[in-house]
């Protein structure tokens, strides 16, 4: 039987600064809960809402893999590596911050709020050259199936038949795989662990899912370890889930 840890949406950390309304699944900034520091190498899962015309001014990061998934609206990203990009709903952004990067993220709309998930994963290599990537998602491809958006593989790798193939989505410096999917009510979903010893953290973006007697509602999180296969069921029409598979132990090389 797998071991699970349930984080109901309402029990997350919460910070409301007016311009930023942030719900934090794990301890972050002024929210400190020693029982909720991280899930394996998944350290931050913030569910952020930024008011129109507002955002995060220039600030540094290092040695962290940062994945942003806009859920509504768009953000303007600018960094000291020379990138100035707009990342919108239907895209994801990845920064491998490595030996250090300064960046800003502002709501691209002067009036409408933007909502996005901000996810930090500990890297498996320190002090890498910083990297920025942004990819579009095929939203039609995630209907009733899981779409891989993150993997550890930056390029072609040998598949089971020996021929190289490109992994879907983008990549990070960690043995982690992220998938997104939107499902009709009643649809059953199987997820097979990609690497032995990893754990899986589920985060319900919309709707509800059923798993092993748990009913996961919108913005609930569930961490699962010691299980090779998950069998989920969408409880509501249009239920959307983010599945994050991460190492459970520090694996810095």
């Amino acid at each position: 039987m797998s071991n699970t840890i349930l984080h109901k949406a309402a029990t997350r950390g919460h910070a409301d600064y007016g311009w930023l309304d942030s719900w934090q699944s794990f301890s972050f900034a002024g929210y400190y809960n020693p029982e909720r520091i991280q899930f394996g190498m998944l350290r931050v899962l913030n569910d952020d809402r930024v008011e129109g015309g507002r955002g995060f001014g220039s600030h540094p990061h290092d040695n962290m893999e940062i994945i942003s998934i806009p859920l509504k609206g768009s953000l303007v990203h600018e960094d000291n590596l020379g990138h100035k990009k707009v990342v919108s709903e239907g895209e994801i952004q990845v920064m491998s911050t490595g030996k250090g990067v300064f960046h800003s993220e502002y709501n691209n709309s002067p009036s409408e709020p933007a909502e996005f998930l901000q996810i930090w994963v500990f890297p498996n290599q320190l002090n890498v050259t910083p990297r920025y990537d942004q990819i579009p998602l095929d939203l039609s491809a995630e209907h009733d199936t899981l779409q891989q958006i993150i993997s550890p593989f930056p390029g072609p790798k040998a598949s089971h038949d020996g021929r190289p193939h490109k992994e879907n989505g983008t990549w990070i410096y960690q043995d982690a795989w992220f998938h997104l999917g939107t499902f009709d009510a009643g649809r059953e979903i199987q997820y097979d662990l990609k690497k032995q010893g990893n754990g899986i953290y589920l985060f319900v973006i919309e709707g509800a899912f059923l798993l092993d007697g748990h009913r996961l509602e919108k913005r609930d999180g569930l961490g699962i370890v010691d299980t090779p296969t998950l069998n989920l069921k969408a409880a509501d029409q249009g239920s959307r889930i983010l599945i994050m598979e991460v190492p459970m132990k520090n694996n810095i090389q």
């Binding site: 301890s27 972050f28 900034a29 002024g30 400190y32 020693p34 520091i37 350290r43 931050v44 600030h59 540094p60 990061h61 290092d62 040695n63 962290m64 911050t97 490595g98 030996k99 250090g100 300064f102 930090w120 500990f122 320190l126 002090n127 810095i252």
Partner: protein
């Protein structure tokens, strides 16, 4: 009277980030940061005052971190030498609180 100031030494090779870490630490009442960009600077600072926490920041490898830990623990076995991740405000306060809770 007991000195309750929390002295934190931050060591890193990216000075611009280190200066932000210094400012963030000093913004907390009762916390005082000293920064160093080389191991020798860090050891020199360590020999001049007592630090409860040493954060190893960007630019230093895991092997360098371990070597520094062993060196500083010989001087003060009570110090905690640990990696600071994230380079900014997101995790810094949490990292300090986690260490203080364990002590």
């Amino acid at each position: 009277m007991e000195n309750t100031q929390l002295n934190i030494l931050a060591l890193g090779r990216e000075k611009a980030i280190l200066e932000v870490v210094e400012r963030l630490i000093n913004s907390h009442e009762g916390w005082k940061a000293t920064i160093a960009t080389t191991e020798e600077e860090a050891v020199a600072a360590f020999q001049q005052q007592t630090f409860r926490i040493v954060f190893v920041c960007a630019g230093f490898s895991a092997a360098e971190e371990e070597a520094l830990r062993q060196r500083l623990l010989k001087i003060d076995p009570a110090v905690t030498v640990t990696r600071h991740y994230g380079g900014g405000s997101g995790l810094l306060e949490n990292e300090v609180l986690s260490i203080l809770q364990k002590k």
